[in-house]
C-alpha cells in the first residue's frame, strides 16, 4: 500500500543541538493590579483601587471584542502553580525558553499598562511602575530583555521614562502600540522618537491599543476576527503616517519594529506609497527619497502571526520583497496564535537565511552578542 506523505516529518533534536532562537515578542503578564502596587506611588494605588484604568474603551475589565480563548492564551500555558498564562517566570523559562532554545527574548508588557488611559497622568504612573516591575521580576533572567513602556500620549512623560532607562542594557527597545490617539507621525510624538534614537533604542510598535477612534475608517466592526485582521490595517496607517510626515527623514537614527501586525502587506503598501509620492510630492517636499527607501533601511517586522498562504511557499516571495534581513522571528507566547519555531517556515531554507531569520537579525538590531 502506498502512503501519501503530506507533511514533513518532525525531527526532534535535543535542545543543545537546536538552532539558537531570538523571540521578538513575549508577553509577561501580571496576575492583578496588586502585583504593581509595590512599584507605584501611593496616589496611583488609590486611583487604581477606586477608579481603575479607564482606557478609551467601554469595559472596566476585559476586551470589547471577546477573545477566542480565556486570556487569549494557549490552553497549555496556564502555570501549574496557578496564576494567569505568562505570569510565571519559572514556567516561561521551562515551557518557552528552554524548550525552544531561546537565547534572546524580548518582553513586551502590553495590555493594561498605562499607555492609553484617559487619565494621562495616572497612565504615566502605571507605565513607570510596569517598567520597575519588569526590571525586578523578569529581567533577573538574562535571556530576557525589556521594552520600555512609555505613556506616549504625554510626550514629556514618555521622554522622561525613556531617559530613566536609557543606558540600562537590560532594556533594548521603547514600546508603543499601533492604535495611537493621533497619527503617530505628527509632531507631538517626534520627541519620543528622538529620545529613543538618542538612546540607541528602536521603537517597537505592537498591535492593539485604545486610541479612541474606531478601528476602521468606516466605524466599529462587529467581530474579534475583524479586530485581529485589522491590526494589519492599523499598522499600515501607522507606517504611512511615519513615512509621509517625514519622521524617518528627520531622524535618520530612528528604527521602527512592527510587532504582531503581519508583514506581507508591507510590499504592496510600499509600492502604493512610492507611486503616490511621485504623483503628489509637492505636498511633502521634505521627503528626499521614495517611501520604499526609508522603509527598506529603517523598518523591521516580527513574523508572528506568520502569514499562511496556500500554497505556503508564496510567503517566501513576500519575505524576499521585504528583505530577509528585516524579519524577526517571534512566538507571541503565551497567546493562542503562538508560532512554533519548528513549524513556522513553509520549507527548509539555506542555513544562513534560517540563522538570520531566527536569530541574527534580532541580535544585530538589539545590539546583543
Amino acid at each position: 500500500m502506498n502512503v501519501q506523505v503530506t507533511s514533513r516529518p518532525t525531527i526532534q533534536p535535543s535542545a543543545s543541538s537546536k538552532l539558537a532562537i531570538a523571540d521578538g515578542d513575549i508577553h509577561p503578564q501580571r496576575n492583578s493590579y496588586k502585583d504593581l502596587y509595590p512599584y507605584m506611588e501611593q496616589r496611583w494605588v488609590e486611583m487604581a483601587k477606586t477608579f481603575g484604568s479607564r482606557p478609551r474603551q467601554a469595559y472596566q475589565a476585559g476586551p470589547a471584542y471577546p477573545k477566542g480563548q480565556p486570556n487569549a492564551s494557549r490552553r497549555d500555558a496556564w502555570p501549574p502553580e496557578g496564576g494567569r498564562p505568562g505570569s510565571s517566570l519559572p514556567f516561561m523559562q521551562k515551557q518557552l525558553l528552554d524548550e525552544n532554545n531561546i537565547q534572546l527574548g524580548i518582553l513586551n508588557p502590553t495590555g493594561d499598562n498605562g499607555a492609553s488611559f484617559q487619565n494621562r497622568e495616572f497612565g504615566a504612573g502605571v507605565a513607570s511602575a510596569m517598567n520597575r516591575w519588569v526590571e525586578a521580576e523578569w529581567l533577573i533572567e538574562p535571556r530576557l530583555k525589556g521594552s520600555i513602556v512609555v505613556p506616549y500620549e504625554d510626550t514629556d512623560a514618555a521622554v522622561a521614562e525613556i531617559e530613566r532607562w536609557a543606558g540600562d542594557p537590560r532594556f533594548v527597545q521603547v514600546l508603543m502600540v499601533t492604535r495611537t490617539a493621533n497619527p503617530p507621525g505628527q509632531k507631538q510624538y517626534w520627541k519620543i522618537y528622538e529620545a529613543a534614537a538618542a538612546a540607541g533604542l528602536p521603537i517597537g510598535v505592537h498591535a492593539f491599543g485604545f486610541g479612541g477612534y474606531p478601528v476602521s475608517g468606516s466605524g466599529w466592526p462587529s467581530f474579534y476576527i475583524e479586530d485581529m485582521v485589522g491590526h494589519a490595517q492599523s499598522a499600515q496607517s501607522f507606517l504611512t503616517s511615519l513615512v509621509i510626515e517625514g519622521v524617518f527623514e528627520r531622524i535618520p537614527a530612528f528604527k521602527l519594529v512592527l510587532i504582531e501586525s503581519g508583514f506581507a502587506w508591507l510590499p504592496p503598501l510600499a509600492w502604493r506609497l512610492d507611486k503616490l509620492w511621485r504623483r503628489l510630492k509637492e505636498e511633502t517636499p521634505f521627503l528626499k527619497r521614495a517611501p520604499s527607501e526609508y522603509i527598506r533601511e529603517q523598518v523591521w517586522l516580527t513574523t508572528q502571526p506568520m502569514e499562511e498562504p496556500q500554497p505556503r511557499e508564496h510567503v517566501l516571495d513576500a519575505i524576499g520583497w521585504i528583505g530577509w534581513d528585516r524579519l524577526l522571528f517571534a512566538t507571541d507566547y503565551p497567546h493562542w496564535d503562538y508560532d512554533d519555531p519548528a513549524q513556522v517556515l513553509p520549507m527548509p531554507l539555506p542555513e544562513q537565511q534560517r540563522r538570520d531569520f531566527f536569530f541574527n537579525n534580532a541580535m544585530s538590531l538589539y545590539r546583543q552578542g
Binding site: 474606531p214 475608517g217 468606516s218 466599529w220 485589522g230 496607517s237 510590499p267 504592496p268 502604493r272
Partner: protein
Amino acid sequence: MSVIQPGGIDCDIHPAVPSLKALHPYLSDHWRDTIIQRGVSELESIAYPANSPLTSRPDWRPASGKPGSDLPLLRQHALDPFGTSLAVCNCLYGVQLLFSEDMAAGFARAVNDWLAHEWLDQEPRLRGSIVVPMQNPELAVEEIDRVASDHRFVQVLLLVMHDMPLGKRHYWPIYAAAERHGLPIGIHAGSAYRHPVTPLGWPTYYTEDYAAQAPAFQQALSSLICEGVFTKYPELKVVLLESGFTWLPAHLWRLTKFWRGLRMEVPWVDRSPAEIVRSNVRLTIQPCDAPPTTEAFQRLLDHMQSDEMLLFSTDYPHWQFDGDAVLPDGLSRDLVRKIMIDNPRDTYSRLLETVQ
C-alpha cells in the same frame, strides 16, 4: 508593454457634475428651492481636491470647467484611444456625504436622472451606476427599484467608508435589492468622513488620505465576508473600484488564517475567505500599485490564484497612468482579453442587453 485589446469594457470612469446648477432641472421643487434659499453651492468631496495632481491627468484637464464634465472630451480622452466598447460611469458627486437622509435621497435621484439624460442618452457606449442615499437603506432601496428598470444602469454604487462597516446587517436591504435586480454592488474609494480615514485619527496630508483607501477596502472586504453577506446573498457580485489590487493576496492570507483560527465566531462563513473572494469579488485595474519588476508582478498574479478577478479601468480623469499605458507590463494576450472583455461581461450581466 501589454497590448490593449480593442473592444474593451472600461469599468471605472467618472463623469463629473459640472456644478450644482446642472442638477436643477432634475431636482424636485422642494430641493431646488432649498439649495437656492439656503445657499448650498457645491457638494464636492475632499477626497479629490480640485487642483490635486491625482484628480486629473494633466493632459485630461480641460481649459475650463471640471475634469470629466465634458462628453466630447471624455470620448476623446477615455473611449476612443483604448478602442473602448462600453464604459461604466461612476459619478462621485458628494451625495452620500450629506447628513440629511432625505436630502441625500433627493440628490441621488437627481444625479441618476442627470446621468441618464446628459450622458447615457447621448453616448451609446456609456453605462451607469446607481447612486444611492446609503445614509438610509430603505431610501436606497427605493432609488434602486426606481432606476433599475433602465437596464443601462448596471450596478449600485457605494463608498468604501461610511457610517458603519459595509457588511453590517443595516446595509443588507441594499444587497437584497441589488441581487434581486441582477446588479453588482460597486464599492468605490472615498469616504463620507464620518470617522477619521485611519484608525489612528485624521492624517495630516492628502497623500495619506488617498493611501488610506487601500486599508479601508481591506476592512470592507473583511466586514462583508465576516458578517456573512455572501452566505446570505450567494449570487451577489461586489466590485472594488479604484481600490488598488496588489494588496489583495496578502490580505487574504491573513484573513483566511484568522478564519481558520476563529471561525467559531462567524460560523455562517462556510467557505474560506479566499474562495469567497475568488467567486464573488472583482477589482478594477487602476490604480495599479505594481511592484518595481515585471518578474515580481508575475509572482503577484500567481498569488491572486485567479485570472477572473481583474477588470479593465482607466479611472478617467484621475491621474493613474500616462499615455496609453493603462495596463501593467507583462500581461499575456489571454489575460488581457479576460481583463478587458470576458471578466467585465461575466461581472455585469446587464452590460450587453442594451447594445444596439
